[in-house]
Amino acid sequence: MTDTFSVEVRITPRTGILDPEGETIARALDNLGYEGVGSVRAGRLVRLEIDAASADDARRSVRRMCEELIANPVIEDFEVRIEGDAPTGGGGT
């Protein structure tokens, strides 16, 4: 018996890795007069629909996909969210 789960993967540059895109957004916001913007990190969002026996199975499966393909653990952190579930992080560390 399997259910279909909607899964969201959020990929962001690893802490300590330069994020020129985020820095550029931060600079542009500053130029536009927005005050109080601290750090900006820009990432990517991947949504998947996956058939799995349970939410845990879906999460495990997607985490494997992230480690192998969807994210590059050398430069990126990722976070897997199952719709209706609490998010779980991952850094591939």
Binding site: P13, G16, I17, L18, P20, E21, T24, L69, I70, N72, V74, I75
Partner: protein, 246 residues
Amino acid sequence: MKFGIVRFPGSNCDADVVRAVTEGLGEEATYLWHKSHDLGDVDVVVLPGGFSYGDYLRAGAIARFSPIMREVVAFARAGGLTLGICNGFQVLCEARLLPGALVRNRSLRFRCVEVGVRVENAATPFSRAYREGERLSIPIAHGEGQFVADSGTLDRLEAERRVVFRYVDGSGEPTDAANPNGSARNIAGIINEAGNVLGLMPHPERVSLGYLGNTDGLGVFASLARSVGGGDRPHRRGAETVGVGS
């Protein structure tokens, strides 16, 4: 000897490499299709520049899983000489054959410009036709060429002399202004621990023939030919121009 040049969908420097090695060195070259499961009898594998699989997801990320890459990884792990240029360097990092990764240029701009590159280690199969410390002029053409790795990895690369090429200014110094993409420590090219896999962002094939106005890049291919040939045998043509830095 024979060079095998991989063709992914989106490769666009493959023909340039073929001409560099056939016209520049008089060596043989053959294309290796991405769906192939066979490297044939090639002595050296080259992953050329381009935008394999449209650079979807991350540059090099999808190419890494193409059928030919299974063979390339096995070839490289068995000691086969493997060269990755630009997108090929990105593929080698994604395939974990080389450490670190290549991310968007610090400027966020695609840079297409001739840059100064210093030969940091002339004792590799990819650089032996050069003199150590020689300054070359080689073009880059990339949007994602900023080499990053954790500081431990960078220290190790330096200590083991695995930084083979570094971006330098006109007087041969690795200044920040000479760094075209923000690469850590001005790194332009690195080699793996075993010394048989090298990746670099600059395009030596684009400056390998006299009629291109500059032959600074031919030394990379001449080095490989010499390494496979097992000695300093003379090349049929073109070799006399190798090693002349600008």
